[in-house]
Symmetry: C3
Subunit: 416 residues, 3 copies
């Protein structure tokens, strides 16, 4: 995943344009991906698909032609969706178009202006301080014109048509944790899910933030009743512990699975707030689809957020891997959470004669033994395996292993 992240990091993504297409091309090299192009001007819910933005070059140069700010060095230097500009300006006139980081003199901030026509440059405070009064050549060689909004969709059918939606945003330029890390983890998740048996169907969406989920929701309203929940994956590579942010409803299956897995990993469980990434759109009251959020840091929570310091040094292969594994564990809970009935419910069955009990009595039952006793005690048709895991304080995986052993011993059966 780190190598994949390194490959897509340099691309200049925005909410539309060729940077998104090139990124989706990399994803399509790893998993089957359907690319959708939605024309500018298409009405999507309360929004309109904007014109497509592309940029070739941008710089601020001194009178003698020296580039003092250069898009070629960092694609953060240009405010995303900046208008085309080619003019000579005094520093004084240019100044309102220059943005620096509020706290760190050596970091370039990341700024956008998608829905208000404008233009600007981002640079470090050190760069700004070095600019001398005088006239500069200011060039942004961009086009904002009718085109399309591009997103990618990977559908993995399961035994039944109930779908789980997994999304990540593909609209940020060279920012590693937010959100090259999410793109890498979701891509690899798709590859892993493709190789697993699936009870549910999975739909992986690689979409620009906000307008992407708005667009997908608008184009798929007929399908939404099948979506039982989902996850937004983002900021998966920094050094913070894992976080699970609940959906609006707060206690749905995906929330309980997310809280169980992330809670046991030592991570944070956060209540829903209508701020964050594309979960906001799924959790709007007219849809109310329970989509949670799997991250490490939240947006705005790490100092490097939305600056040039969110680079490939901020993320690591290990942390991408544990984020992927946690996501797979959450989906494993969803896939295997079932309700069973104890077939020998009056008193404990004699486990010893079935090889499920230690012979020589001693003080400590051990996790395996306890898990068996919990499953037997709680399997009256009204508690799922996750209920049992939560009540017992044991891991879902231990409870599931116990239920498998009891099924094999004929002591358990699926409840209607």
């Amino acid at each position: 995943m780190y190598a994949f992240a390194s490959r897509v990091f340099p691309l200049c993504r925005s909410i539309t344009g060729n940077g998104v297409r090139e990124t989706l091309g990399e994803v399509a090299g790893r998993i089957p991906l359907e690319i959708h192009e939605v024309p500018s001007g298409t009405q999507v819910l309360d929004w309109t698909v904007p014109e497509e933005w592309n940029i070739r070059d941008a710089y601020i140069a001194t009178a003698d032609g020296r580039r003092v700010v250069d898009f070629g060095e960092s694609n953060l230097h240009v405010v995303s969706y900046s208008d085309h500009v080619r003019q000579d300006m005094t520093l004084e006139d240019l100044r309102p178009h220059l943005h620096v980081h509020a706290e760190r003199p050596d970091w370039i901030p990341y700024r956008t202006s998608y829905y208000t026509r404008s233009w600007g440059f981002c640079l470090s405070r050190n760069q700004l301080d070095a600019l001398e009064a005088g006239t500069y050549e200011v060039v942004i060689d961009s086009t904002l014109a009718p085109g399309a909004l591009t997103y990618g969709e990977c559908f993995l059918p399961g035994q039944n048509e109930d779908e789980i939606v997994l999304t990540t945003h593909v609209c940020h330029p060279s920012l590693a944790n937010d959100n090259v890390s999410g793109i890498a983890v979701l891509t690899e998740l798709g590859a892993a899910l493709a190789g697993l048996p699936r009870r549910f169907s999975y739909r992986l969406l690689f979409i620009p933030g906000t307008i992407g989920s708005i667009t997908w929701l608008a184009r798929n309203e007929g399908r939404l009743s099948r979506v039982i929940g989902g996850l937004v994956i983002a900021c998966a590579g920094d050094s913070a512990p894992l976080s699970y942010k609940r959906s609006r409803r707060g206690e749905t299956p995906v929330d309980r699975a997310g809280a169980h897995v992330v809670g046991r990993s030592g991570g944070r469980i956060l209540d829903f707030v209508p701020w964050g990434w594309d979960e906001r759109q799924f959790n709007s009251p007219g849809f109310d689809i329970p989509v949670g959020c799997l991250t490490r840091s939240l947006e705005g929570e790490f100092p490097e957020y939305h600056s040039s310091a969110d680079d490939l040094d901020l993320i690591s292969a290990d942390r991408l891997e544990t984020a992927l594994q946690a996501t797979l564990e959450i989906l494993d809970v969803l896939e295997h959470d079932r309700t069973y009935r104890n077939l020998s419910p009056r008193g404990e069955p004699q486990l010893g004669k079935r090889g499920l009990y230690r012979g020589l009595g001693g003080p400590d039952p051990g996790t395996e033994q306890l898990a068996i006793l919990w499953v037997l005690n709680q399997s009256d048709g009204s508690h799922t395996l996750l209920d049992i895991a939560e009540r017992s304080g044991l891991a879902f995986s231990d409870i599931r292993r116990a239920s498998d052993a009891l099924l094999e011993a004929g002591l358990l059966a699926g409840a209607p």
Copy 2:
């Protein structure tokens, strides 16, 4: 309010008598007040209105006519409802009738004997210790005779007939925090409410403790079905933070409003106990009217409670003012808590084109933006503004401001 408090502080109030009438006269100088006189002997619920008590003078004097304890110096010196006395007594015989403060040698305690005929003097331990053996002239020039129980009622009609009852007790003599402070705050609250638009009707009661609320309840049983809740206001001037004591039911609108406002002010939220002031009568099981209590210290909680040290130095103008403002805020929540419906509930509406969103993307949404997103997200017809304030952790006032902006933008409508 402090000036008002200073004016009524010297009056010798009890549960009946001219001290109450003079106090109500001061209140009537500020707000419209109906004075009720209920004859002694009237049966009120399980109680009987007692005879009226008035006192002109009282003292203990030495053989040579020197007053060693003098009602003229402090009206706490006489046990309230003391019988008429005029006799010479040895110190030894007098002793069982003398009460001192259990802990502080320089404080005069406050004692009453409303329902058991008795008489007595309260004095400081220093005064008692200075008394020499010998014979004293003991005079209590009081009358306990058929008369009336007096209380005041200020009714402020609103758009609908649902009533909120606001009460304070007017039966304590020269004690500042308990409860000249409550009388001052309730009077000023009446003046403020009179000048505000009102959805609910308000009934302010200035009543003697226990027997006063018993009497009002007995005489207004036909009206009680309209009373949706209320507040007792007392001990509003001392240096303790604000307290809200819940009603018996515990989670009614007045409780939630009280807990929200007082909780956010850094004050205490206390569960109902059947001990305190007149909320006890409203919250009795046969009425079960949810009346909470807004105070600073509770009764019995501050060392100066029911002693001569509860004087005008114990209360301050600032603290009376913040108690008044908190009460107004609680009533503001009750007045404006409504349920709305998001008219663009599928996805977030595009706020930018309606001037409700910042143009240039940055990390921190700010309270105003968050409040708008919360109101949109939760307004599905099942959450009130107070529900949203509590879930979001924002102030009711912020949420209400957001709902006003969204109403104006046509994105919100009242739910049925």
Copy 3:
């Protein structure tokens, strides 16, 4: 109780055999006890009553006849249910049959092998280390043969047929806290209950662990619908504070009574786990009879657990007595928890004229006064005395005393 405990301590109990019979004989000397003998081979639920085990002697002796391990010194020396053995063995061959304590070199561990045919000795690590290589005479003079499983039952009828089951396990040899202490407390509890008026019927069971409750449940299925709950009593004599472990259902009357009494004593309230003693069988999902557990330490929780250090020095007369009193208090709550109706529910009744209120007003109501006000306030037919005790934070006994006074004053009546 300590004397009783000392008397039964030396007996070599197991899940069957004469040690159990002799122990039940001691119990029968104090309370009326029906002895049941259930033949080996009887099918009981998923189990079969095992053969009866008795032991006369056992030892390991050196070639010169010196007993280096001797059952006569401690009945823990033999693994319970060991097969008959009489042979000469090298230390090397004997070694797999020798068990020592994992942590303490001077303690003999306690081991059993009820359902897997086997044999073995337990000894201290010091004893083991002192054994020299060579040949030993190894003798276990035991019989495992068709016989019976023995248990004792004491039934105390009450005003109605609803039963409370009280059990303790009688299968451990010379171990004082686990569970001579439980046998002593349950016996004395029977004697105390026999002398009290009883609303409920009580059934005291002195049974071998697991197989005993399985057997009783199998033989009494027709009666189980009358069993409203119960308690397992065990480990009642060590120095840990009292513990109440909830039943599977968690909030039944016995759970609430147990949590109230043990919680107020400063003890621990523990959630149900399907590990422990015979509560496991009652709480199995097919029966779901709410049986809690009253202990000091839990099984496995004290270092001396299942070792020779669990001797008579570990328990004390005082601690047995407070465990007995707590159990009686729990049963007192169950016996007397009722719902009442305040007959003067509108406002507070005037308590003074009924002698239920102090004459001279002062600041602190005192527990007695508060309890009266709480009972009046909450007795609307929907709260029991225990509900009121829990809401008020007062003891059930204080609330019950208040309800008695109010009943006598005609202010309270039983609710339908």
